[in-house]
Structure formats: structure tokens, C-alpha cells
Symmetry: C2
Subunit: 132 residues, 2 copies
Amino acid sequence: MFTIGAAAKRTDLPTKTIRYYADIGLVVPDGRSDKGYRLFDDRALRRLIFVRRARAFGFSIETCRTLLALYTDQTRSSADVKAIALDHLVEIDQKLAELQNLRDELTHLAASCAGDSRADCPILSAMAGDGS
Amino acid sequence: MFTIGAAAKRTDLPTKTIRYYADIGLVVPDGRSDKGYRLFDDRALRRLIFVRRARAFGFSIETCRTLLALYTDQTRSSADVKAIALDHLVEIDQKLAELQNLRDELTHLAASCAGDSRADCPILSAMAGDGS
DNA sequence: ATAAAGCCTCCAGTAACTAGAAGGTCAAAG
DNA sequence: CTTTGACCTTCTAGTTACTGGAGGCTTTAT
């Protein structure tokens, strides 16, 4: 059984985050010590690490909740998990496309800006709506 | 002089957003009617549109504030604006790289998942830290 | 005259934490 | 035995950029 600090070291998560996850019922401690300290067992640590990885993949907390449930459920079908992953991939691709657009346009604008001491600036002009 | 609703139509921004921008002092109305209605003039509308465009480029509100100041300042140098744009480009490129990484890894995982009725799932295994 | 639309302010909620204050607990050192 | 420092607890509030809604005037249209 680990206190929150020990769990933090082992899971590579901040104690604040672990406490937060406990508060929202995402990964609840196994129990409390007689003085009220949260105590985590190995299973809880595994779940915390699972969440850390899933979050790193960009899954929302709510999706992590679903994923954790599937992780725990031995009768799950891999199709359910795959569907969630594919949904997330679609979102990522959308963001990627938006960002690439943004980068291209901003690169273009920045390139057309002299960047000297004169006031004339195509970037500001674009924001103001003068051009295009 | 336009009421907030008229300004919203002309700038293509929600009234709530315009009110918010006024509250935080980003684009303040020109004044108030005798009944307390916010009144916007053409200059304010131009500034609202400027902010809408800058936000679409992903600039934060605080950066918009700076950009607006530069927009207004006739003695600005285009170098100042360009520096902000290039900073932002660096951030965009970082996010882009992260997202691409994420997409590649997740694509790989999803591809290796059968997606059938069996429980075995490489995606969950990856989150659990079984592999790699 | 009345009803609909538009305006006002203030409060709360979103996502996922993070910071900080005030205070109890525990292990080791003096 | 006490003190120090590192832990732990709870609670409140702040972050970003809005958005939604309640309750209540005002203006406009019928």
C-alpha cells in the first residue's frame, strides 16, 4: 500500500493530479489509513499509469473512464476499443488539418512581411481584412 | 453607432463574445446609450473583426491585445509584428509535431487491433504498458 | 395595449488540472 | 523530548475563452 506521494513517484504523476483523479472517481484509492491518508495498491497504480498513457494519447478524461472500464472488463470485445481509437483518430486528423492550414497561411503572411522598422505590415493588414 | 446585436451581425461574432471582449477591455464600446446600451462605432467594429481574424489564426487573447496595440500604433515597426507571428509559428509547429506523432502511434495501434469480438486488444495493452 | 425581440447584469459551468493557505502527522536529529 | 522538515489532509480559487441561463428593463412591431 502506497501513500499518495509514493504512488506519484511510481506512476510519474503529480500528487495533485492523483488526488484530482480520486476526487472525480476516475481512479479511487484502495482505502484510507487510520489518519485519513489515501492508500493505493498495485491495481490502483496500474490504473493510474493506464490513465497517464491514455491522456498522453490525447483521450479526454471521460474517454479514459470508458477505456478504464473496458480495460477492467474481461468480457470486452476489441472492436469497442478500436472504435474509440478510430473516433479519436478522426478528431486528431481534423485538428491536424486545421493546424496545417493555419501554419501555411501564417507562414505565407510572415514571409511577405519585411520585418524591418517600417510600419507597413501585411500581417496586420490581413487581420484588418484589407487584403484577400 | 451600433447596438451590440447590430455589431454582432456586422462582425460575425456572438453578442456574448463582444460583451466579453468589452468586459476584459479588449475592445471597449464607444459609449453607452442613455438606457445603458453599449454603442459601437466603425472603429470598434474594425477592431472586433481584427480580433476575430487574429483569434482564427490561433493567437491568444493577450496576444490579440498586443497585436491590436500595434495595429493602432502608427509608429510601430513591422519587425515587432513579425516577431510575434514567428513565435506563434514555432508553437504551431510544436503542436503539429506532437499531433503527428500521436496520430502515427495511434494509427499503428489501431491497425494492429483486430477489432472483433475477442477481448485481446493491443490498444489497451499499450495503455497498460505491457508492450514496449 | 401587448407581445416579441433585444438589451442589461450577475452567476455558474466548461476541461483538466494547478497553486496556495491552514493545519494535522511522521521520522529522524539534537 | 522537542524540533525540524517532509509528508499528508481539506478547501478555495485561478487558469482560457468563452457560453448559457435567470431575472428584469426597453424598444419595436402589431
